[in-house]
């Protein structure tokens, strides 16, 4: 029973339980909080598979930016006043749960660093999943035979910037108040 198996079991069960929470919790704000917990667990599962950049992006983009947008819109749309006020019991449970969550994430990162020092798990190439290697994948992937640069994802990368621009403009136009 290695720490990795323990962490996998912990994060896998927590992600599934919090995903069930998204479906079955009635209050949309609490469902959104449950989804944030699920995204954190997924980020840890990514980290266990040496996808460090993607794990960081998961927390920044999904648990951060996207869920903030969700919570904003829920609070705009739901007009119940009691949606935001937590119950006394859940308030008391919240602090130890948060401390526990932060501690396990810290343990996962510590394990990750420790394993990085003592040799890779799957004999994955060095730097697998890091920022540098992913950047290479986008812009300059070495072809093994000739040693030349190939960029198979360059078009997708540039197209993503266009997509995001269109998304921003579209969101502003759609949600604008009509005169």
């Amino acid at each position: 029973l290695t720490p990795e198996i323990l962490l996998f079991a912990l994060f896998a069960t927590t992600s599934i339980v919090s995903a069930l929470g998204v479906v079955f919790i009635r209050d949309p704000v609490k469902a959104a909080m449950s989804l944030i917990a699920c995204f954190f667990c997924l980020a840890c599962l990514y980290l266990l598979q040496r996808a460090e950049l993607v794990a960081v992006l998961e927390v920044l983009v999904y648990a951060g930016a996207i869920m903030v947008l969700f919570v904003f819109v829920i609070m705009l749309v739901e007009h119940k006043d009691d949606a935001i006020i937590a119950h006394q019991l859940s308030q008391r449970l919240a602090v130890p749960l948060k401390v526990l969550a932060v501690a396990t994430v810290a343990a996962a990162i510590a394990l990750y660093i420790d394993r990085g020092a003592s040799g890779s798990l799957d004999e994955l190439p060095a730097g697998f999943g890091g920022v540098k290697e992913i950047g290479r994948e986008f812009f300059c992937r070495r072809v093994p035979e000739s040693g030349e640069c190939a960029a198979p994802f360059l078009f997708q990368f540039e197209f993503t910037s266009l997509l995001l621009l269109v998304g921003i403009v579209g969101a502003v136009i759609i949600s604008r108040r009509r005169q």
Binding site: L35, V54, D122, Q156
Partner: protein
């Protein structure tokens, strides 16, 4: 000393379960925003499968696809929530059962 790796199939079971939960949520929940959150959950289940296959084949293309999926999801959420705000302004409701104008 290297510990034995967790089998790829375990991660895929988790991804499958998350996808099924998300799909069930889209079908069960009547609140459009919660249904939308369940769609995000399904996207993340697919991302987990991508990451797992990237590890299995020691090829980072899977991780690149996850980054692209995240960008698409961000644009999708921005536009989708804008549509929901626009619908809410008109109807004062985002219950998917009450929005029946496009029924044939």
């Amino acid at each position: 000393m290297t510990a034995p790796a967790i089998p790829v199939s375990y991660y895929l079971y988790v991804a499958t379960l998350l996808f099924a939960i998300g799909a069930a949520g889209v079908l069960i929940r009547r609140n459009a925003i919660v249904a939308f959150m369940c769609i995000e959950l399904m996207l993340n289940a697919a991302n987990l499968a991508f990451i797992t296959f990237a590890r299995q084949h020691a090829d980072m293309s899977g991780q690149v696809y996850v980054i692209l999926v995240m960008a698409v999801a961000a644009a999708e959420v921005a536009v989708g929530l804008a549509i929901m705000i626009a619908v809410f302004r008109q109807r004062r409701s985002i219950n998917v059962d009450e929005l029946r104008d496009m029924h044939g």
